[in-house]
Symmetry: C2
């Protein structure tokens, strides 16, 4: 069989190591010239496929790929876009397969989270229905760590390392600044439905009384009285209290805390749980307060990636290519943990059926302390994921991220009117 | 003359390198045993002097001091507390000098910003008025960089490096995520009255179109129409727009933007300009939006300090000891710039009279682009301050910050009822 094109795309919220996965894909694909001809990327995920907005990676040198691997953001561009059901929008699928055929795409690798895995499943089924020969492989990525079927998702370990470092450092500032009146600090982290990122900040503790003193997780309905009692007890004891709050904390009725109140203009306060909680504590207990919202910073911190996470990100990219070449379809390279200390892991293919659109929340046996803390088991699971440092090159005091120069692939089709 | 006690204390908002100054003070002081006996620290700044809450640094080994130098936060504890005017509260000054006399303090070094320099001036004058032999030296420190009399303040360079890195990294995430509808990102940085920290983020640009695209500075009254027009033009051109906003941006009437509106509970929205601006853009232009508030993280990032800043922080600590020993009083070691490229600097004593309570804002010739950008002169001034990396030791994936164990000094006086 003549070599066919491998097409790679990035989808969903990006991570500090998703480009390491891209570099892994490209590097591995180049090792198989008999089976893989062009290694193309789509701009902005599946939208780039629909728009035939493709780039060729052939011009990237080995140093270019090394630079790409160390770069945060998604170098190909990403999207949040779900395909329609094939029966609802056959024209959409017609277009996708016109693009695949025009560029002889035989391998499609989609690097994303649980929604992206649904896209892979739909394309896989559509290819079979059309008798179009295509290996569709999902490649895991999400700072939220909410993918089922894998012990951990690439991207999570680096965000976890960044947030735990930030909590440790901000906690030292808080301690220095806490005066007689008491002071609290809230760090609002990502996690609409899952507390994995919030949980990671517990790693910040070097001693039992170190920050964070309280976790607010989406998995645990918020009880304001219990929360305030714990904050007050902590401030009475230490003079200060550091709180990690997932953005998706909900009240007993399942409503996001920040959607309980509306402001004068009728807006729901999206985000802003850090401020909301800080104000609640100030109003009820009178403490001084600060809050931080790292937002994009927590998933883009290329200057502080976990070497473990980055190795896994590269490995899933390489494995995905091998799975595609082996004709595996509708699978995802999953990380299997073989041991905690020393940490050992391997990669195995996982079928996408149970993964697509499913959501993995913090297990109950990870949550302790009336819902405000973690168990030792959670810490044993977390600790190895943030291990190891890989620093980017610096130039003039800053990480030197030079985006790769992609060569656009000439369009063979007309524009897509979606 | 018999050796006398040197007393050091930290005041105001702490920085990522204030402990490097402390280590510089202690290391230098130990070189002069004929003149300096004990090297004590006060807990929580001048409050620790009033409370006779003192610690002895004699037990710190050389490795302990090296660890201290790499640690963010203020290891001695800080405070925001202004002394009264001596005539208004003579009892306060009586107490301070009782504590000085009880511990034979001959040298007092106060590490802080412009308010702290006022404390030094008051103590200096009171010592002269009482014929108490005391050298009072201010030691500069502030991430806000608003101290006059010095080219730059220790603490600023590291916060600048952190914020510029964060903007570069978050900007790459933003670029990857910007879809057809346009997307904006606002990073809210510290700076109630001065735009120095906001300005530093301009260093993030590697190419002219790189983030940040707009700066909002406290020095420039906010013009919503001009701002929105620039945001729209940027999104039309690039698909996205990154904005750095100082927390202290004010409208044409001089009112903080976030104090213009009140929420349903009658609260002024303190902080939150990032959210406020993101919402304004969303309401008026319809773009998707994210905002970040690094808060404490920007001044506590020991994992990403500027080697230049850290060297200066140590140097001012050492110089302050030498000034005290030379009998200089009511001075501050100031950093004098000798050249931009290569960057050269030296330290000179600056009298505190013009420094105390004065505020240094961004000069007009640093501000360009209708107030939304910086001049080349500003960039020439900024660039060397963030140069060089010094990483902390890591343990289990996180910076290993072990707070020094301080030995409390036995109290010789009764409690202070302030």
């Amino acid at each position: 069989m003549a070599p066919r094109t491998l097409l790679y795309a990035q989808s969903g919220g990006v991570t500090a190591v998703i480009n390491a996965t891209a570099a892994g894909v490209i590097t591995e694909a180049r090792k198989h010239p008999a089976q893989i001809g062009c290694v193309l990327g789509a701009r902005q995920g599946i939208l780039g496929v629909l728009g035939e907005d493709l780039v060729d990676t052939a011009g990237l040198s080995v140093p270019d790929l090394a630079a790409l691997a160390g770069q945060p953001g998604g170098a190909f561009g990403s999207c949040r876009f779900d395909l329609d059901a094939p029966d609802d929008n056959p024209a959409q699928f017609d277009r996708l397969f016109e693009v695949f055929a025009a560029h002889d795409v035989g391998y499609f690798l989609y690097n994303g989270g649980n929604g992206s895995m649904d896209t892979v499943l739909k394309l896989s089924a559509a290819a079979r229905a059309r008798n179009y020969p295509l290996s569709c492989v999902g490649v895991p990525k999400t700072v939220d760590n909410d993918l089922v079927g894998t012990d951990v998702s690439p991207g999570y370990g680096s965000a976890a390392k960044y947030l735990a470092t930030s909590m440790r450092e901000a906690g030292m500032d808080l301690r220095a600044m806490s005066g007689r009146r008491g002071r609290i600090f809230v760090m609002e982290v990502m996690g609409r439905n899952c507390g994995w990122l919030a949980a990671a900040t517990v790693l910040a503790r070097q001693a039992p009384d170190d920050p964070p003193h309280l976790l607010l997780l989406p998995e645990v309905p918020f009880d304001p009285d219990a929360f305030l009692a714990c904050v007050e007890a902590c401030v009475e004891r230490l003079g200060y209290c550091a709180i990690t709050a997932a953005e998706g904390v909900r009240n007993q009725a399942g409503v996001l805390l920040v959607e309980q109140d509306e402001d004068v203009r009728g807006h729901v306060q999206l985000g802003g749980i850090g401020q909301w909680l800080a104000r609640l504590v100030h109003d009820r207990l009178g403490y001084k307060h600060h809050w931080a919202v790292p937002d994009y910073l927590q998933r883009a911190a290329g200057h502080l990636v976990s070497a473990t996470d980055r190795a896994q990100a590269e490995a899933v990219g390489q494995a995905a290519v091998r799975y595609a070449l082996a004709g595996r379809d509708a699978v995802m390279p999953a990380i299997v943990r073989e041991g905690d200390a020393p940490y050992r892991w391997r990669i195995e293919p996982a079928p996408l059926g149970p993964i697509a659109n499913a959501e993995r929340r913090l297990p109950a046996d990870f949550i302790a302390g009336a819902g405000f803390d973690l168990t030792g088991e959670a810490l044993r699971w977390l600790r190895p994921l943030i291990a190891g440092e890989i620093y980017p090159a610096f130039f003039e005091g800053l990480p030197d991220y030079r985006p790769p120069t992609f060569v656009a692939v000439g369009k063979k089709l007309g524009p897509y009117i979606g």
